[in-house]
């Protein structure tokens, strides 16, 4: 049962990931990203990490991708893109090579390690203690062991919010930045047309 769920959701994750990079339309790419994030949420469920799964859905699918889509719609950057041109020359070849290298490394570990790769230790995302629920374990850890990191993160987020507010306000009593000298006296062509005599 677990294996079947794993295979199906892993396929969804992979297909979504490929969709993100190969869609011509940014909105389709965002939709593929949603599929990937959902697949990951199912993988978490499969590992018994219910809280992580639901947080994954609420935070990533429900907030971050919604904002990405929102900005795309608001700014109207949902044009089809040309996938033929490569912004960086040789980028795709390099990406493919690195991907193959990574796949080779994983396969090599499996081949060389044989039985030794199954360590038998518990997965990082699984429950530490089977008797206490995941949620209370995470809560206890967050507010005791990692309370400093938690508070610092909260502070960082507050700073980010305040920074965004400060950056987005536009004081309009500031004088416009003058054009640099070099742009004004470039040659005999004036930047603004001089009204001809008797034109009025």
């Amino acid at each position: 049962m677990e294996t079947v769920v794993f295979i199906v959701s892993a396929l969804i994750v992979l297909a979504g990931g490929l969709g993100v990079v190969s869609s011509r339309n940014p909105v389709h790419a965002a939709l593929s990203l949603i599929a990937t994030l959902f697949g990951i949420a199912v993988l978490f469920l499969n590992l018994g990490a219910q809280l992580l799964a639901v947080v994954q859905v609420i935070v990533y699918t429900g907030a971050i991708v919604v904002l990405i889509l929102f900005v795309m719609m608001l700014l109207g950057v949902d044009r089809e893109e040309d996938l033929e041109t490569e912004p960086l020359v040789g980028q795709r070849l390099l990406a493919g090579l690195i991907g193959l290298l990574f796949l080779g490394a994983v396969l090599a570990v499996i081949v060389i390690g044989r039985e030794a790769i199954v360590t038998g230790t518990q997965s990082v995302t699984g429950a530490i203690s089977p008797t206490i629920s995941n949620i209370s374990q995470i809560g206890t850890a967050l507010f005791t062991t990692y309370v400093f990191a938690l508070e610092i993160t909260a502070g960082l987020l507050t700073i980010a919010v305040v920074g965004a507010v400060v950056l987005s306000r536009r004081p309009n009593d500031l004088a416009p930045i003058p054009e640099p000298e070099s742009m004004i006296n470039m040659g005999d062509e004036p930047l603004t047309a001089i009204p001809e005599e008797g034109a009025h």
């Binding site: 049962m1 939709l31 609420i58 699918t61 429900g62 919604v66 929102f70 719609m73 949620i135 309009n172």
Partner: protein, 404 residues
Amino acid sequence: MNMLGGDPLLSGQIDLAVVLIVLLKVVAVFAFLLVATMLMIWFERKVVSDFQNRVGPNTAGPFGILQTLADGIKFFFKEDLIPDRAERRVFILAPLLTVVPAFLLFTIVPFGGDFSNGHDGSVELFGHTTYLQLADPAIGILFALAMSSIAVYGVMLAGWSSGSKYPLLGSVRASAQMVSYEAALGLSVCAVVLTTGTLSTHGIVVAQAGSGWGGFIPHWNLIATGFVPFVVFLLASQAELNRPPFDLVEAEQELVGSYHTEYSSIRFALFFVAEFMNSVTMAAIIVTLFLGGPAGPALLGPGWLWGIIWFLLKMTAFLFLFVWVRSTLPRVRYDQLMDLGWKVLIPLSLGWLLLLATFWVARDQHWNGFVTVGLGAVVGLTGYGLLKGAIATSKARRLEGVVD
């Protein structure tokens, strides 16, 4: 089975009866939701007609109760139009993305069971003990928040994929509104979770069951959390559902039909059904969170039946309230909507949550309750004053034209 967040009482050996019970529950919940949605559409039209001094649907069936069914059949036979400039695949996907979360939302709602006299609401079915709710995962109410945050996608993509101006504007409004009010919704759910100490919806209902204070005031979270989270949740849920007076999304005068302008036939019907289904589910969730769900005294006959009766009664009361509000209040302006969400509901629910947390800490540490809560209230009021001052200053500066 347990891994899928299924019924925790079913873990262990799974036989045919268990599978049958789950199937039975799925069918029952599915049928209940469909019938409830159908009746809700009829109920809303009928009640609104009463408020407006007209008759309303009265031809199909007794009191026009089959009107929705007739409309549904009519929708099936209408031509299915897909606009030329629409993004075909997304256009077809969007109504489904709206309906599926609407169905899934109801899975965690406990709709029956005997909670009186210290019973925990479990019933015997084919020799197995089970709860009258489709699933009781440990994450419970968070699942509802996750589903309601996914519901934005249907609206958003429908508007975008139509390839036309008004749907796009409508869907941008809708997503801004739903994202803003989700925060207030989540914060008032936090207050309930803090008070009951569990995320599971069944646990939340059990915590509210019993004879209550003084033997007759029920142990509802409505009172235990101090009314404020309930009011915030009720307001935010109306905005989340895009119901009047917060139906800016479908302001016909401004946006034609908003995100479903270009939809016709059964695809439009799916949006329509999802909207009313969400109203039913939201009423059920409010009842679960704040009014004890199916908990209530069992008068005569089997206790589990009384659970269902109480649940339906409470839910109907809320559905009536929704319709009442809809037919009484005019639509708010867009800036009023955003002000209410960001400057009133979110600070209020956040402040109240902190106050509640202070109260519980004071209780655990045996501090003087009055002093702690009084001090907390003073801090909260100072924060409110600062916020008010900041808003007033920014408004003054905007009017002076210093910033835009």
